[in-house]
């Protein structure tokens, strides 16, 4: 190690670009996963609630299977599986696909729970003024369900952010692996892991704060 650069800050400065890049990979893979997982999870959640029987059973099977398998196994399975099937995708995308599979199942279950928690009377009030099923869904049920699904959705989002560290196992240089690469050069184990921890805590606290602010805006959603 360079004797002129023996402090953590000097080493961190030296590694700043690779660390920053790692952080960007963490953030972008989180956002990708959360967006894909939320959109598809929403659809699967509605199928779980209102789908025709065979479709609903299929969705239920998917959700229950995904929730019983560790995310790391999903990631490794997807990564090696796509490779052996000669589907050439970068580890980053294999990771995002695997995390999304996981995210979809959680969002779907959250959406189902939220939709089913809306009292039947809301549906009936919509029926009574002549609204059709999709109109009721669009204007009455979903606006309320989305707000109810927010707290568990935030939990899922936090899980995903933490889950992106698992992409390091298939060689995606996200924040954790970038930190480890820095450590490999300077052996400042405690400092770099601590720094990474703090970054994760900051990201997660920001998400939680944003969600809490949103929830306060929805104070009117009471029965």
């Amino acid at each position: 190690m360079d004797p002129d650069c023996s402090t953590f800050f000097c080493q961190a400065w030296t590694a700043r670009w690779s660390l920053l890049e790692g952080l960007m990979v963490t953030i972008s893979s989180s956002i990708m996963t959360i967006v894909i997982g939320t959109v598809l999870g929403f659809v699967v959640g509605l199928i779980l609630t209102y789908g025709m029987l065979p479709l609903r059973l299929l969705a239920r099977l998917y959700v229950d299977v995904m929730r019983g398998i560790p995310v790391l196994v999903l990631i490794l399975f997807t990564y090696y599986g796509l490779a052996i099937l000669k589907i050439g995708v970068k580890p980053y995308w294999a990771g995002v696909i695997a995390l999304s599979l996981f995210c979809v199942s959680h969002v779907a279950e959250n959406v189902r729970g939220a939709v089913q928690s809306i009292p039947q009377g809301q549906h009936e009030a919509g029926m009574a003024i002549g609204m059709r099923f999709f109109q009721r869904l669009r204007w009455i049920i979903l606006p309320q369900a989305v707000r109810r699904a927010l707290p568990p959705w935030v939990n899922t989002a936090l899980e995903i952010v933490k889950g992106t560290t698992l992409l390091s196992v298939i060689g995606v240089v996200e924040l954790l692996l970038a930190s480890q690469q820095a450590i490999a050069r300077n052996y400042m184990i405690l400092q770099f892991y601590m720094a990474a921890t703090i970054v994760y805590i900051i990201i997660n606290f920001s998400i939680a704060q944003a969600a809490a602010a949103l929830e306060r805006r929805y104070a009117y959603l009471r029965y």
């Binding site: 809301q122 009030a125 009574a128 003024i129 609204m131 109109q135 009471r222």
Partner: protein, 257 residues
């Protein structure tokens, strides 16, 4: 021709028949009070009229149009589009208000007008304002349901239903969930509607209201219409022991009705 005619309505939950052949005709501008002990099938009957429940036998017609099921041939349920259109002609107010909690009072009233009636926002807002005014809530338009008392919420629910200009209004024990001091304001709104010529079916245990406002009283017992007539006939000349004992329960509270 009667505005609404129900013929031989039978309704089962699993194996127990809760409506055992209801026959009822309702003329334009009538106010029919449905009374009867709890469990006698009043709610179920109202819900059948509004197609919130399916029934396996019988026919209901609104202005000669078969409601919910095909008019002739094999008995089949109508499509969702038709049923929704028919429901829009029948207003219903529930015991538990069922306001949309994520919308202001005004938006609650406007929703059906814009999405079902296809009105412009401005038109719908005008009409919402008119009806909220009419139920005495001109100054509560921008309030959310949780900011309103039970009586106010129920009045919004009534405005929401009548703003659709239904041919018939159904009220299912709309004051039962209210604190006693809030009952009068809701009954006053209903009385006002009755005077304006709205055809109404009212399930209620408010016997004074029934006596003063209803044009006809129908006593239901065990899923059947047991007696029907003017308030005077039914309330003062009960033909059956069951009705006598049912009415007897109200005497102690209000004096003889």
């Amino acid at each position: 021709m009667a505005l609404l005619s129900a013929r031989d309505i039978h309704k089962k939950y699993d194996d127990t028949e809760v409506l055992k052949g209801i026959d009822l005709d309702i003329e334009q501008s009538e106010v029919v009070a449905l009374i009867g002990a709890s469990g006698s099938g009043k709610t179920t009957f109202l819900r059948c009229i509004n197609l919130l429940e399916e029934y396996h036998q019988g026919r209901i017609e609104l202005e000669g149009e078969s409601i919910g099921y095909t008019a002739s041939g094999r008995r089949r349920k109508l499509g969702e589009r038709q049923i929704s259109a028919q429901r829009a002609k029948i207003g219903m107010v529930f015991q538990s208000f069922n306001l949309f909690p994520h919308m202001t009072a005004e938006a609650n009233v406007m929703l059906g007008l814009t999405k079902v009636r296809g009105m412009s926002n401005a038109e719908a807002a005008d009409r919402a304002r008119h009806w909220l005014d009419r139920v005495g809530l001109a100054d509560r338009r921008r309030h959310y349901p949780y900011q309103l008392s039970g009586g106010q919420q129920q009045r919004v629910a009534i405005a929401r239903a009548v703003a659709m200009e239904p041919r018939l209004m159904l009220f299912d024990e709309v004051t039962s969930a209210l604190d006693p001091e809030l009952v009068a304001e809701v009954l006053a709104v209903m009385q006002d509607l009755a005077r304006s010529g709205m055809t109404m079916v009212v399930v209620s245990h408010e016997m004074l209201f029934v006596r003063d406002v209803a044009t006809r009283v129908v006593f239901m017992d065990g899923g059947l219409v047991a007696q029907s007539g003017t308030p005077d006939e039914v309330l003062h000349n009960p033909q059956t022991e069951r009705l006598r004992s049912f009415l007897g329960r109200f005497h102690g509270i209000f004096g003889p009705v």
